[in-house]
């Protein structure tokens, strides 16, 4: 097998992996986009919980919240003078959602479909 053919194959595999990975990314990105305007609680990996209205989200699941309220003991004093914030996706542990806003069946079906198409 010559180099060019290898490169072509490797390149294709890499590209298709990224495409599929993005597809799964797309699922939650779209899911969060549907929740824009709702009140959510974002819990970070340092146990800080931020309650606010979901303003926007991006492909990396960075979250922008407006009108925030820090729901734990305000032992994070730097948050006191902040009303709107942008949270980097990589530091989020949980995003707590209002139960009545989420159609879990739909989400499950969509996730199942994604996983199925990824396996193929």
């Amino acid at each position: 097998m010559d180099i060019n053919r290898c490169k072509k194959i490797y390149g294709e595999i890499k590209v298709s992996y990224l495409y599929l990975k993005q597809k799964f990314f797309q699922l939650f990105y779209s899911f969060f986009k549907s929740l824009i305007g709702k009140d959510v609680v974002v819990e970070l990996k340092n146990d800080l919980s931020i309650c606010g209205t979901l303003h926007s989200v991006d492909q990396y699941l960075n979250i922008k919240l407006t009108d925030i309220n820090v729901t734990d003991a305000e032992k994070y004093p730097h948050m006191l003078s902040v009303k709107n914030c942008f949270v980097r996706g990589s530091v989020v542990r949980y995003v707590q959602l209002p139960a009545d806003e989420v159609d879990t069946q739909l989400l499950q079906d969509a996730a199942r479909r994604e996983a199925h198409s990824q396996r193929q």
Binding site: K45, I50, N62, P77, S81, C85, F86, R88
Partner: protein
Amino acid sequence: MDIPGVAQLFDEIDKKLVVYLRDGRTLIGILRTIDQFANLVLHRTIERIHVGNKYGDIERGVIIIRGENVVLLGEWDEERARVSGLHQISVEDILDAQREEQQQQQHQQLLRAKFMKERGLTLTPEIGPDDMY
């Protein structure tokens, strides 16, 4: 991050922001530039050290922050800052207070590790030296 069509951080340009970093530092400055990795350039930056309800400021000037080190950034709200109940002290005092606080925390860690060791367990902190936030 910042891809065409997602104006998330573009809205924050030229605004005074509070940036919280992964090492626990708080920087307050005016956001001047961003890129697709959410690297930031802050202008007229001050590093604010919080201990209890006191804080101290250190001038830092222009700072470039690598995006991966940011935990969150928030818009500085003058109204909320005024009613926050924090008061400012001098840099030397705040550094002393910070040192004391760190020593106390280290002491706690030591006690916790000892406690676990006596029971045959090891304490592995969830958060490493990079993540002191």
